[in-house]
Symmetry: C2
Subunit: 675 residues, 2 copies
């Protein structure tokens, strides 16, 4: 059977793409970075989907092309490796596109083997070993080399492909491999040339506090003497874990309410969608419909950036693009039953490639489950006393990534009232550097002795490719604005105006919660029969702080997407990444959403894309240490005159029979079953 | 045993207060409105709590005074009823305070018997019956009279005590008493004088659309002919309820993790607090501590206002203060097991009084339960692959009110990382008026034929009386602000400044999410030993839209509290209500938070109170009909350098053993137990 056009590449397809690429070369080494589905042109897919939803797909139906994007280095002769990208037609078994990307223009995304090399090269470096020697680590401490992308290059770096490492020490004396090394940051950042595999320098970090100079060594000879253990694995907690938390389980005796068929087709409570996984974006959802009506063509995490605000060089180079930089695939968590979710869980696997291009299955990278989120709707008739109350059941598609110290859980959440929530939970260990004893800093907060957690931001971009009852949509900004008392039009001063502004040209737009500014994605060719207004969905832009870095600095210029809360652009095939295709070691965002918006395309009644930007300015608290409690951010998409009534009005209001009531005083001695 | 000073009045105490009041009068009728605990002066309570938490309370301990506030009308002779308030000392069994509140100054809060009278008087009114006759209701329709507070009086109303009623028709032909009468609004508002119990006029409402005049009859002779049924009770849904939602239950086989002792002392996961219920504020929490350390002295919903924005008179008088107006007690839902919450639930009862002052128990008005809210914190060690993940368990104290058409669920939520969330869920049926066939309006949205849901706002105020490690606290505004690239201080442009501003004088303050503005409540006499910063809690003001009505109009002047997102005032005994003690039929907020702030009190290192204001500008969607899906609003209080690490770091990361995994395709035929 031909794969569905909205399915990710299989193991076999991935290996086939590898083979076709390799067949094109001889006498060189090919080192692979990523192999991804190159999604077919939307026009081909929508033609197919129209037939599919009409039940008219047969063996003869013309299917969209099936393409793979393969990115790889060609290493041969005396030349530096060359970075190539090929498009492989898997049905025709041939290369149909090819580009050599010069390092003078862009760097290819990072591959996990580069990080492995970095760790080894740093550890083997005599220069590094000498610097470590100088730090006079206490007995029993080992050195931990944590690989990081380099951030933006300085002028002196030229076009070299560079990586940096943060260095920590780990107390090995517990004999527990998971003792927390982040409690012992060392003030060194080695920098490696990825081509020569050489340490080209080791930056010695300032460790001072308020009023100290931005550069220069100030730390004590035995700098770790004032640091302290900061454990989080339960067996290393000095006082153990709390003992009074009783189990709380979720049971679904009749199984889940969702079905998963055809490999990736999810159906649940009138919703249908397809889920894929790829190493650039994680989980991606396609062809999202409710009750058979199209809502979104595609929903994905497009990119994010995490710039650090410590003014001392080289900390300006601590700026990750955790999606664009390329390490995401290997950073996705393999989710384990009963820890990451409750209830009945369906896991999806993904496909990753090693440096030799061989595809391997990575297990359980997406999980699917239902959750209860409190009351869904309720009304009590005051005349009869009759209460009707429903629970709000939600379907969650989740993936979680670990990026060295830090983790993000991304949830696409669907509810029975046809709402969509994109949720990001930030957790993990905040990024820290050494600080001298007794000092405090304007650049962060001391979260443990000798440990400065630097101020930073997380800015996410969610890409929303709408298809509100079709592909020709319009975005309308709506604000609720005060109106002066006026004898004729507002005699009692209570009226306020809803002002609507069509977004006519592609643009970056901002949140304005004081004006209750929301954006409606509407189909102007369809009218709600009840209200007479165009059918649509409402996007409420989270009014979070945008990028703080000086607009003229590199940190800011390479993340232009982070300058507005919402971008509206005209759809273009393969324009998926807000920060551009090449963020690794970029100095400027190229080919990202800012460039797309700058085309000044007409976006009235067009196939368009919305890019929602929101985030968290994270000035760490002591309570974020050693592992921070989740910070939850949410983006909401809700129907606005899309339906003719509350879509959840038909949710049954059955009593839940597993609930129990406890009477009188409740003491620890009372177990539930007795009540 | 003497009642705890932080316990609500018992049935016996309430009846005792009634008796003592009645004993003070003869030859008059006393009609009671409310009997509430008059909380003792904070100085007395804190002295007691200090002893209590030190384990030093004995039978001899001097206890705070035990007082009741009784509000009632004295009806006698030829005079109009007089509104009185008395303070009763329950231990001394005597009246210790008394005030006659003149209707020239304020109106006493409404009592449920006034609403009952209103319904009867309207129904009996020949004038009303004649107006109904004119409307030529279809066969089988009955008239529904819905009582409302009057809103603010117009100049012509003088100081009369007035009530208004919205009028609907109900299709009785289904024989189901719960058929939805809001689908048939009638354009009449009768107004009753509460003293004379007479209908003083009946307003005939404009029913036009865009461009139509603000007053004057335009509706068709048989105006309901274009309306349609809008049912929500399951047995009346034309197509029934959806059948594919499988049960999802929460099980706690070992019982809850909380204990409830001494009637109202809740202990859970290092938290302790006392819960009370009263008819003015609903659930109130007192003496909130974590791990024995004081955080809040008191937490409550202080007030809310719901102004409607339809410019046509008399809709400016649709403005409820659902707490201050006084009807709350009888509007609190009696929560039923398994519908309003899942899991193991503890219910608390409340005490209400009837017009004769007799106390009755109202069952299950507060519920207490635990809930799972996803991942609490997680980290995977990239070197070892070891993942440690905890769930986020929460404790929820909930009460729900129904105000005619509308409901609010208020949740005080506590998490294991020592965070507090105050959540409001708005649901129920939006308030509607009649609109002529085929018309649309600038004042709202047509949600069903002939039914205009008017634009409106919900503005809530949460009163937070902090006690961060003691009662002398300071509020510090913190903003993250951009800093220009500067060779010396910000050489790479990535630095941003955290600017701190102490709030020195009582004031109204605003959210500024573009500056990441947050407010820290700190104790400046205690320093976090790790960070060196004052211990504190962080309040993130929800940056929602404030009141839109013209500042010079009555709707706005009687809700001054809704003009700022956060008020900081100096604590004063019994200053509890943001909108003032008397909101019913007020023209101006008096004695509310604006007046408290205007004292210009020194609030540096003082006993202070924070009042957090947030809300929802609600321009109804068709999807809000007939019962709207919950709109969720949240206020967050989180520790900020209050603890020396993540307080949830000791939460166990046990696998949940009730979860199940489904393999391969999932189809409806697969029941969970087979998987």
């Amino acid at each position: 059977m031909a794969p569905h056009p909205l399915s990710a590449l299989s193991l076999g397809e991935t290996n086939l793409a590898r083979d076709i690429v390799k067949d094109g070369y001889s006498d060189v080494v090919i080192q692979f970075r990523q192999i991804l589905l190159h999604e077919p042109p939307k026009s081909q897919v929508t033609a197919f989907l129209d037939l599919e939803h009409a039940g008219k797909v047969t063996a003869e139906t013309l299917r969209p092309e099936r393409l793979a994007l393969v990115t790889y280095d060609v290493i041969g002769g005396s030349k530096f490796p060359e970075y190539h990208e090929s498009i492989i037609d898997l049905r025709e078994r041939k290369r149909v596109g090819h580009e050599v990307v010069s390092a003078d223009t862009h760097h290819g995304s990072l591959a996990i083997h580069e990080f492995e090399t970095l760790v080894q090269v740093v550890q083997d470096s005599p220069l590094f070993q000498a610097k470590i020697q100088e730090l006079a680590l206490p007995e029993g401490f080992e050195v931990v080399v944590e690989p990081w992308p380099y951030g933006a290059p300085d002028a002196a770096d030229g076009r070299k492909r560079l990586f940096q490492a943060l260095i920590f020490a780990r107390d090995t004396r517990s004999g527990n491999a998971d003792s927390n090394f982040y409690a012992y940051p060392l003030p060194l950042i080695p920098v490696m040339d990825a081509h020569t595999k050489e340490i080209i320098r080791i930056e010695e970090l300032a460790t001072g506090g308020k009023g100290d100079p931005l550069t220069g060594k100030t730390h004590a000879a035995r700098l770790l003497d004032h640091n302290a253990a900061s454990e989080y694995v339960p067996e290393l907690l000095p006082e153990g874990t709390r003992q009074d938390l009783k189990p709380l389980g979720v049971v679904q005796p009749d199984g889940p309410s969702f079905s998963v068929t055809d490999g990736n087709l999810i159906q649940w409570q009138k919703w249908s969608m397809r889920a894929t996984f790829n190493s650039r974006e994680g989980a991606v959802l396609h062809d999202i419909r409710y009750d058979g009506r199209s809502i979104l063509y595609r929903l994905s995490m497009s990119d994010m950036t995490v710039p650090y605000a410590d003014a001392r060089p080289p900390f300006h180079r601590k700026q990750a693009f955790d999606f664009g930089d390329g390490g995401l695939g290997h950073c996705v968590n393999n989710l384990a039953l009963g820890c990451d979710c409750l209830g009945v869980i369906k896991y999806f696997d993904g496909v990753l490639v090693g440096s030799d291009g061989t595809a391997t299955e990575t297990k359980n990278v997406i999980c699917l489950h239902e959750q209860d989120n409190g009351i869904g709707w309720k009304h009590t008739n005051w005349r009869t006393g009759r209460a009707v109350v429903t629970r709000r059941r939600e379907l969650v598609v989740q993936f979680i990534i670990t990026l060295a110290n830090y983790e993000y859980a991304f949830n696409f959440i669907f509810d029975q009232a046809a709402g969509i929530t994109v949720e990001s939970r930030a957790t993990g260990i905040v990024s820290v550097v050494h600080i001298d004893e007794g000092k405090t800093s304007d650049y962060g907060n001391v979260v443990s002795p000798g440990v400065l957690a630097q101020n930073h931001q997380h800015v996410f971009c969610v890409r929303i490719d709408p298809a509100i009852d079709g592909h020709k949509n319009t975005v309308v900004q709506e604000e609720s604005l005060p109106v002066r008392l006026d004898k004729r039009t507002n005699p009692n001063g209570n009226f306020y105006e809803i002002r609507k502004t069509e977004i006519a040209t592609s643009a970056g737009l901002d949140a304005a919660p004081h004006n209750n500014r929301i954006f409606k994605i509407q189909n102007h060719s369809k009218t709600n029969p009840i209200s007479g207004r165009p059918v649509g969905y409402k996007l409420t832009p989270p009014p979070t702080q945008l990028l703080l870095a000086d607009p003229n600095c590199t940190q800011s210029r390479r993340a232009l997407f982070a300058r507005h809360h919402l971008w509206v652009t005209k759809y273009k095939d393969h324009e998926l990444y807000a920060g551009g295709k090449y963020t690794l070691q970029s100095s400027l965002e190229v080919g990202g959403v800012a460039d797309a918006a700058a085309r000044n395309d007409d976006v009235l009644d067009q196939d368009l894309v919305l890019w929602s930007v929101f985030g968290l300015t994270h000035n760490p608290r002591v309570e974020d240490w050693p592992v921070m409690p989740v910070e939850i951010m949410q983006l909401h998409l809700t129907p606005a005159d899309f339906f003719t009534r509350n879509p959840a009005i038909d949710v049954p209001s059955n009593k839940d029979l597993t609930s129990k009531q406890v009477m009188g005083d409740v003491t620890e001695a009372i177990a539930c079953c007795k009540l």
